[in-house]
Structure formats: C-alpha cells, structure tokens
Amino acid sequence: MSQVRVSTTVNGDAVEYLCDADETLLDVLRDRLGLTGAKEGCGTGDCGACSVTVDGRLVCSCLVLGAEAEGRKIGTVEGIAQGDKLHPLQKKFLEHAALQCGICTPGFLVAAKALLDHNPNPTETEIRFGLAGNLCRCTGYDKIVRAVQAAAAEMRKG
C-alpha cells in the first residue's frame, strides 16, 4: 500500500499528513489528526455522523478518501465555535435539549450549518428533508428541528 502525501486546510489551519491510499478522510481526521468529533456510525454513508464540509459542500467523510482532501478546505464540528463563542446552532441545541446521548450532534451541527448557510429561512419541511441524512435515535428529531428553527431565526436577526 503506497502512502499519499496531502496538504490541506482543516478548520482554517494548514495541515499536512501521510495516509494510505484507501484511508478515508474520517479515519485521517480521527486517527491521524486527533479530531474525534466526526464519528463512524456506519461507515457506508447512511447515518451522517461523520458529516464534514469539503470546500463548503456537505459530505460524509467516511466516503471521501484522505487523499482527496489535497488543496481543499475541510470543515469539522471542532471549527464551528469561534474561540469561546458558540455558534447560534450550538447554543440552541443546548437550550432546546436537542441532544440526549450526543453522538449524532457533531454531524447534525455540521449539516444544519451547511443547510442554514445555504438557506437562511427554511421551512420545517425543508429542515427535515435537509437533515434526512443524519440519523438520531434518541430524540425523535422534534427538539433538533426546533433548535435549528430557533438558530435560523437568531441568525436572521444578525
């Protein structure tokens, strides 16, 4: 197995690593870069717990190769807060009890942020379909949708 040398940007920081050709971006983030926020829930793109953004585009990092990150901008949950200032989504998730066990929360935050960055005023249906790629087994999604609605409202106020 030959290794690939990759130069990329993660949450705004320049990063370099060596990875196996068949290593996923998820494996690289978790095992080589110590960014364990993205989780492996299924490994096959069905649960969204590994969600990250690549050049602003929401993807499942378990279905992206570490090698493909070359020259791209990767965004993970660890980059959502600005220092000690939580993003409105993070605040609303906490206020609305939109997490119980919390394993799906990083993926939901990345996906919800991508959704709101694209569509700042989504309807309930748009939120539900926009987040259909993120499984939650604890909450039944009700409080998650309410938290996203509340965050969107706060973000629109500016």
């Binding site: 197995m1 993070q90 009890a97 997490l99």
Partner: protein
Amino acid sequence: MPLDPNLDPASHKFNVVGTRPVRPDGIDKVTGRAKFGADAVAPGMLHGAILRSPHAHARIKSIDVSKAAKLPGVKAIVTRDDFKEREPSLRDILWNVMARDKVFYDGHAVAAVAATSASIARKALKLIKVDYQVLPHVTDVDEAMKPGAPLLHDDMITAGVDPAPKKSSNVAYRHEFGRGDVEQGFKQADVIVERRFKTEATHQGYIEPHACLANVGPDGQGELWVCTQGHYMIRNTCAALLGMNVAKLRVTPSEIGGGFGGKTTVFIEPVALALSRKANRPVKLVMSREEVFRATGPTAASSMDIKIGVRKDGRITAAQADIRFTGGPFVGSLVDMGAMSAFAAYDLENSKAVGHDVVSNRPKLAAYRAPSAPMVAFGVESVLDELARKIGMDPIDFRLKNAAKEGTQSSYGPKYNRIGLIECLEAAKRHPNYTAPLGPNQGRGMAAGFWFNFGGQTAVSLNVHIDGTVALTVGTVDIGGSRASMCQIAAEELGVSYEVVRTVTADTSSLGYNDITEGSRTTFSTGMATIEAARDCIGKLCGRAAKIWGIPPEAVVWEKGYAKPAGANAGNFEPLSLADIAKQAATTGGPIAGHSEINAEGAGVSFAVHLCDAEVDKETGRALVKRYTVIQDAGKAIHPSYVEGQYQGGAAQGIGWAINEGYIYGKDGRLQNPGFLDYRVPVCSDLPMIDTVIVEVPNPGHPYGVRGVGETSIVPPLAAVANAISAAAGVRLTEIPMSPPVVLKAIESNGRAK
C-alpha cells in the same frame, strides 16, 4: 425511601427541580470534545478484530490460526480455547461471546486477533481456517416450535411444565400468569375477538457501535474504557469470565452514544481484555455497523394469539394471551415479562397469559426499552381497538371503563399503589389530537401502555469543596441527561443553585456497586441516593456548624443553603454557608461528605397513552405518521425537557418499529439487512413534531414522587400506529412491520374479500 410526608409534589414549590437548565456535559457534546467509546487511544495500542460465522447453525470441527499467527504485525489471537468455563451462571454469556462447540447464528464470534493496524487485523482474520459442519437452521418462532424443527440444544427440556416433557425441543421455558377463570369469563362475554399477531425482531439502533479499549498487565491488573450502560456489570462479568480479581479490573465508562438496553451486557469486552492480556499491550476493539446488527442483541421476534371478551356495556369479562417469543439460541427471551405486562393496564377478574420462550438461530437478544412489552401491547391494544369498534364505544372510554387504578389487583400479581393511567386517559381525551379533523386517507389510533420500572443497587458520594461548591459522584451512566437531573436534585436538597453542583460518573474503583442504567431506574434510584447523600451531608454540615458555634448539633437547622441556629434559644449566630463551613473543614473534623449505598425500592409503575394520526396511500401501501402525541405519567419531572425527550425518543423508535424496521432473514438463515440502508429507522423527514403531555401522579415510593420514564414511551406506539393505519386503510393489520407491501397486500385482500 417513600414520598416525603411534608411534601405534596403537586403544590410544593421546588426551586431547581422542575426547571430546564443546560446540561453539564453540553459544551463538550456540541464542540466534538466529548469522548465516546471509540475516541480513546493508548500508546502502543493494538487493533482488535473478530472473525464471525457465515453460517446460521454449524458445528465447529476445528479452528486453525497458524497462518494468521505468522502474519507480521499480529500480536495475539484468541479462540474458545482461551476462555475457560468458570462460572455456570455465565455459561450462555460466555458461549455468546465466543462460540464453543457450535455457532448458533450468522455473525457468531469464532476467533479474534490483535494486530498493529486495523488492516493487518482484517487480513489476519482471512487467514484463520475454520472447519464448519453446516447444520439445518431455523429462525421463525412458530417453525422452531414444530416437531421435527432443527434442534439447537440436544438437552433442552422445556422448564415450567409439569410433568416435564420427555423429548428435547427448542422450547426453553413455559410461563403462565393470570387469575380467575377465563373459560367462565368468555361465557359471559357478548362479543369476543381473537386474533393472531406477528412481529419481527428489531434492533435498538444506537448510532454508536460498541467500542472499547482494554489494557491488562501480567499482574492481573486491568483497565477498560468502554461505552456501556453498566460499567460495574462489565467489570464483574469480565472479571468472572477471565478469572480476574474484581477489584483489580477498573472499568471507566465513556460517554455513550445510545444504548436503549442494547449495551447492558458484554459482547466484545471480554475478547478485548483477553487479547490485551495475551499481547501485554492495550487493545482497541470497535464493532462495525454490520457486526452490530448481526452480533449484538436485537429484540425477540414474536407470534401471539390474543383473545378478549367484553360485555355490551364495555366491561372486559376475560382476556387471554398465548405468546411465543424467540430471542436467539439461549433461554431468556423475556416472554415472561411480556406475559406479565400483557393485561397490566386493566382491572380484570379473569386473565391468562402464557409465554413460550423458544430458541432459534438468531443473535442472543438484549433488552430494548421495556423489553417484551411493545409487542404484546401491539396485540392486546389492537384487539381492544377492534372490540371498541364492535360495541360502538369510544376507544378511550372503553379503556377508562376497564382501567386499573390504586388498589386494583394486577393481572401479574401485585396490588397497585397510586398510579396515573386514568389521568393519562383523561388527558388524552381532552387533547386536541383526539378531536382534530382528519384528512382524506387518514385514520386515528390510540393505545395505552405500561412498564414496571425498577430500583436497584446504587451508591453515591457527595463532597463539599473548600469554595462551597459540590462534587456529586454517581455510578450510573448518563444515557439521557441524568447528570443534569442529579445536579438539580442535589442543589434542591442543599438549597443552593444548580451551578454550584457538578455531577460526574465515576469509574468502578471510586464507588460501591451500581446496577446498570436500565429499567428506567436512574432518575429514580440515583436521584433517591442523591437525596439521601445530600441529607446525610446536611447532617454533617450542621454538626460542623454546631462545633464552630459550640452548641449541640440538634440546635442547628439547614435552611436554603445555610446552617442556622434553630431558634433564639440556640444562640445569636450568623448563618454559615457551605463555603463558610468547608473552609474550616480541616479544623472541625476533616473532609465533609455525604454518602448513600442503597438498594432502591419503591419504583412506581408508569402508564402512557399515545395518539396517532396516520395517512395511507392505498395504491402503494405506504403509511406516514402525520401527527403524534405522547401522554405519560412521570410522577414528578425533574428536568421536563429531558422527560419530553424520553417520550419523543421512545415514540420515534416505536413508530419505526411499527412501520419499517425489522430483521430480514434469507432462506440461508443469514441476515440480509445488517446496515442502516435496509434496516430502516425513521429519518427526520419521516416524522412530524411529537407532542408531549407530562402527567404527574406522584409515586408514593419516592421522596419527590419520581417514576421512571425512559421505557414506557416505546410500549404504546406499535399499537397506536397499527390502530391508526388500520383505520386509514380500512382493514386490520396484524403483522409488524407494516411495510408498504404488507399494507398493500392487506388492502387488496380486503378489497377482494368484499
């Protein structure tokens, strides 16, 4: 610890209990910092991988690991030869952790390796040669009971039958519960409905696969980091299986990414420890999603015949259930709990519930949120729905006519204390979801549900720090937000604010034994222990104040966070806060702490009523839930947001179970859908908002009246959804999941029958 006689939870003004503060583990969980099972690493760590049977039923003739052992990077291999049968009571667990003579299901563990990388470990598995003698298999519960079915155990003689059968079979146990005379009861009925129901096995579907990091040294001391609902159970079970000294194994629970009962036993942990011990290096073992579905603990699959008779005025005269569960290859499908819960919501003179515990070639079941009750409630509440229609009675009025209440002799034994079923039924009747108009192709269903709830062994330690802040150390894993609730309870008792208390779940070396976080026991038991520990601490704080003031301890009272002289006679002293007293701890007797080590009793049963509006596309059979309401008795809601969360989560799981989730077995006995693509849990767009009503009928067995809430919410949905779909489709559904082909077939058969 009973309801505080000076405290009427209905009118008592709590300061912190009943509010909705942000949970203490919140920031970590929204920033990705929280550490779950697979997030730990250790220097020199190896990667473990498990080889699993591709056959549903086979004898293992031999296992040859020689080639795998030679692969560079492989540091340890374990098979059945590495696990001595030490403890008869753990035999089934051991046989499940690693197959011995036979493999009993597709995915059964056969061997394991630890290697320097995950890919080397996977390569090594491919080099292990297992010689199987494939045997005929059976996965269906009714098929497994038929004479001539493939036998899993040559020596299985059905227990609970007198005289005992002479021939072995796949029926491990027969249970019976009930009272009165059902034959007579049916004679008194004006209308009788009898139906057969079938439900397929489902999985808890937690998003986090099982994961652990084991570290065992040659001196027998070990550390285990693991996602689990019960780290003390893990410690005790693994120590017993590996012949380790219990005190020498320290288990630290990680944050857990969902359990719902599926993480209340061991699967990979003894294997990881055995590999680590052999290699003398840390071993990380993480299950893949496919392994989770094939080889952890789904529910039982069921088949049941329910027969209920009523008089025209709505009184049930007799209720009977014959329930058949299969939960894998060993006894313990929990059909006894199913039989006990079947008629628990009703005041019946004549009831009979028989449960058959049947083995089959499926993975060994584990609990799933009120295990056994959802399936049986599906059958019973569907028949009740049909009876209500037949006698022209409103379904809620029909339940009210027969509802159990305080003093009712339950169908499974005990007499009920104060319970909240009637309050839930009345709240349901008043709820807008019950009377809102329905659209085309829509139907409405309701169902009631019951769960026992449990107490259990609990130990808690409450320490006061020098600045007056409080460290609460508990031994129950937080799976739903209980740390927040414990902070609230401690703050309430001590008379301080929520922010002053920090709750930590400790490892097994730090506290006495704590039972698993299951049975909806945490807020009840750990809460009770926290109250006791806080009151113990208050006694000590008052004693210290007394010392400082030079007055007798009886002359000191605790009020709103301060020690105060009991009256003018006690002396004129300024009140002392926690910080004031703690600063002087060294000179007044040392560290200040309160303790509780209990076996919590008095858990109150809880009831729920669910309302469901469903829409059916009659041309395709596809059903969607359009509106859903959960009404459940919590006794006393410590943190209402997290109580609502339990209601909504259980309902969502029940909806998934009702409509699209289910294990699909091929003719070869192999699981065909071991992944989230074809094991179809509800996605965000599948569900509406789930409304909740928290009913509070205090549990007389708890100081604040708390009842467990985590499980009851999954009991009514199968029936509520089935009753709604049956109403919308115009035909009674009796098979779960009610997937589109099933619903379409029922609609078409009904159309032809007309």
